[in-house]
Amino acid sequence: MNERFEILVVGAGPAGIAAAVSAAAAGLRVALVDDNPAPGGQIWRSGSSQPAGARRWFAKLDASSVTRLQGWRIFDAPTSGVLRAESDGDCRDLHYERLILATGARERFLPFPGWTLPNVMGAGGLDAMVRGGLPIAGKRVVVAGTGPLLLAVAAHLALRGAKIVAVCEQAPLRRFLPFAAHLLSEPGKLLEGIEYGMAMRGAKLYTHCWPVRANGREKLESVTLAQNGKQWDERCGYLACGYHLVPNLELPALLGCRIEDGFVAVDNWQRTSMVNVFCAGEPTGIGGVELALLEGQIAGLAAAGRTKEAEKLARRRRRKLGFVHALRAATDLDPELKKLASDKTLVCRCEDVSFGALRERGSWRDAKLHTRCGMGPCQGRICGAAAEFLFGWTVDSVRPPIYPALVSSIGRFVEPVQIAPEISHFASASTQAGQQKETL
């Protein structure tokens, strides 16, 4: 089953929704593809208490002519102008003239003793699970790591009845405060701040603090926290711990987009270095929802040829770019976090590779070959960011499939551009074999 679109948008978070809606409003044939059961990405994940802005955009999306491909995961770009997606055993090729990548970001996980225990999750991870129906009312939760996600998650969980025992931000107070002020300087954020305050009565906020150990036998029972040389245990049922966000660069990299300083390089129209490929939102710089919405709209309009309308938004975007840098500075990781893992602490969860085994290797490639770190189904998405921070390795090289896919999907035939004699010879041989199979 194939489909042809003028504009294909990958990722139905804020940036993708804004891009799709804007391009469709300009009269183009647009498709929005996303691997989750429902749109919203991570920050607007369905389940409860979606902000008013999210509901407005969902309504626009529902009212638009955008073709919705929900539950489809892009795993390959077999030829120019085609993305290949898989869903529940089915595989399809999506043909496009212009592509807008809004693949978002994922959490950065840093290993520490006990981090592999059940009920230790990412901050966004636990939030997603709760939105997906995990009961949290009455449960004791520690939220830890770094970044604005922590407060948002803590507040949401508190609204759902969780007992937030502590929120532990690794940044020291002097770095956290200016950032918090920046958050509060935006009117929408101020309101959120008040809501946070109300929801989190009784929760303790610690800065320059992080978990050094998760304790429990078959699952989490308590967390050992450290702050300025002091350590203490907090009894809890869940630890929601994530160290800010890293961009999802696999699809942009597969397509050949230039990556600069760890993010997809784009111009003021959100154009990447590859012709007809745009990128908006977190992959171009971690900047939050409002920036993502602006960039999505710019990309959608620019891809649709509406450059004048895009220009107005581009000016607003430029004013907001300072937030990206402020956020980056605020979430800078304390070097002490490199010392949390002991030799026995696992870094690669797919293949159970320890910190001690990795310490002996010289590069990411060397580690992959000799320890199997990064060779499991997560393809290094969980352990790679940790390895970059812990060892200073560059985690690179992208090959299809960028997500695990069925053998039948990766073996899907490709329209040959040029048919070399040997290949067409094979093609006829395989057809014979195929016919032979049918008669068996």
């Binding site: 070959l369 000799h370 090959r399 073996g411 035939f413």
Partner: protein, 378 residues
């Protein structure tokens, strides 16, 4: 800076590492130069099979000899080398291929390799996932699989433990008349220099008739028990045999992790490391013809590699006629893992003036005569 050695080996892939261990075990002062990482070239990309092949008597001799050496070493190999004596099933899809099975069985018996002929029913019991009916198969129980980067790592670690020295990451820029010059200016003076650089061998010796033969592989997530033996179609020999055309041949391998390794493809004239989707599709389709349910397995990774191929499908082992200080141990195509130990033993026996346990003649780089014969027969 000048260092003096008995042997300097260019390349720490499986062949170079095997040579290093052989040299140092025989008391030779040995240095190894590696630019990319131990076991990082074709060694890292390949299937890791130890398989006896009878495309020619010389190939049979070397693979059989080398398999014996691997079997002797097996007990010493650490767990991360994942050595598994799973055996190979050469699968016959029709009566013509069963004739080939019977012929092969006789040849292997002659060489002292135990085999068993499986009929259609026995094959179905041995490997329930294979499509039915197939004509049967030849079981070669002494064949094995292992994880090549860690095997090269083990051989190198043993060599270092016994006193070999590793220069890494460094590459050899030139190797002539007992003098190897590295990319940082270091000069290594050696009685002999071994070119074990695989597809990079032509950088040191452009005259070598070695071509890159691209291959694709895919590995699945854990599916323990899906297949129990290495499975190869008899058409594999035709695919490996052909010197010019692109081809695929069914070849899958169970790993100790429970993952399934899926191959194989061969292409000349493509030096791009990127995945060739048409070849990949062809390879997968071929696999589906033998294992109808394989499509439902989850693939974690797909990658490519380059085999160092010679015109007569035999490696180059021995002194380079124009400069006898230069020794070759390269051009192993798809049999590098299998024949690494045999290559090292034969090469060093010959170097030390000892009688080799198999005749070295067919592998000597006796150019241009050796390949002129091939061209004449082509």
């Amino acid at each position: 800076m000048r260092d003096t050695w008995d042997v300097v080996i260019a390349g720490a892939g499986i062949v170079g590492a095997a040579c290093a261990l052989e040299c140092v075990s025989r008391g030779l002062r040995t240095a190894v130069v590696e630019g990319r990482g131990i076991g990082g070239g074709a060694t890292a990309a390949g299937m890791g099979h130890i398989v006896v092949m009878d495309d020619s008597p010389a190939q049979m001799a070397l693979t059989r000899y080398s398999q014996t050496l691997w079997r002797e070493l097996a007990a010493s190999l650490p767990a991360n080398v994942e050595y598994e004596s799973c055996g190979t099933l050469w699968v016959a899809s029709d009566e013509e291929e069963m004739e080939e099975v019977r012929r092969k069985s006789a040849v292997y018996s002659e060489a002292g390799i135990p085999t068993e002929i499986l009929d259609s029913q026995m094959l179905a019991e041995a490997e329930p996932q294979l499509r039915k009916p197939l004509a049967g198969a030849l079981l070669v129980p002494w064949d094995a699989v292992l994880y090549p980067p860690c095997a090269a790592g083990y051989l190198m670690a043993e060599a270092l433990r016994l006193g070999a020295r590793l220069y890494a990451p460094r590459s050899v820029l030139s190797a002539r008349k007992g003098n190897a010059v590295l990319d940082d200016g270091t000069e290594l003076h050696a009685a002999h220099i071994v070119n074990a650089a695989g597809v990079d061998s032509t950088r040191l010796l452009p005259e070598l008739p070695i071509r890159k033969r691209k291959g694709h592989l895919a590995i699945t997530d854990r599916c323990k028990g899906f297949v129990r033996h290495q499975l190869v179609e008899l058409g594999y020999l035709k695919s490996a045999h052909s010197l010019t055309s692109d081809s695929v041949a069914f070849n899958v391998q169970p790993r100790r992790t429970g993952q399934l390794l899926i191959g194989s493809s061969r292409q000349y004239n493509d030096e791009e490391p990127g995945v060739d989707h048409a070849m990949l599709a062809a390879m997968i389709e071929r696999a589906q013809q033998y294992l109808p349910e394989i499509g439902a397995l989850s693939t974690i990774r797909v990658w490519t590699g380059f085999r160092a191929a010679t015109p007569d499908k035999l490696p180059l082992i021995g002194p380079w006629p124009e400069d006898e200080t230069l020794l070759l141990a390269t051009g192993h195509e798809g049999l590098g893992i299998t024949t690494s130990l045999g290559t090292a033993r034969v090469l060093i026996d010959h170097l030390l003036g000892r009688e080799t346990e198999i005749p070295i003649g067919p592998y000597l780089p006796d150019l241009p005569a050796r390949f002129a014969r091939v061209e004449a027969n082509a």
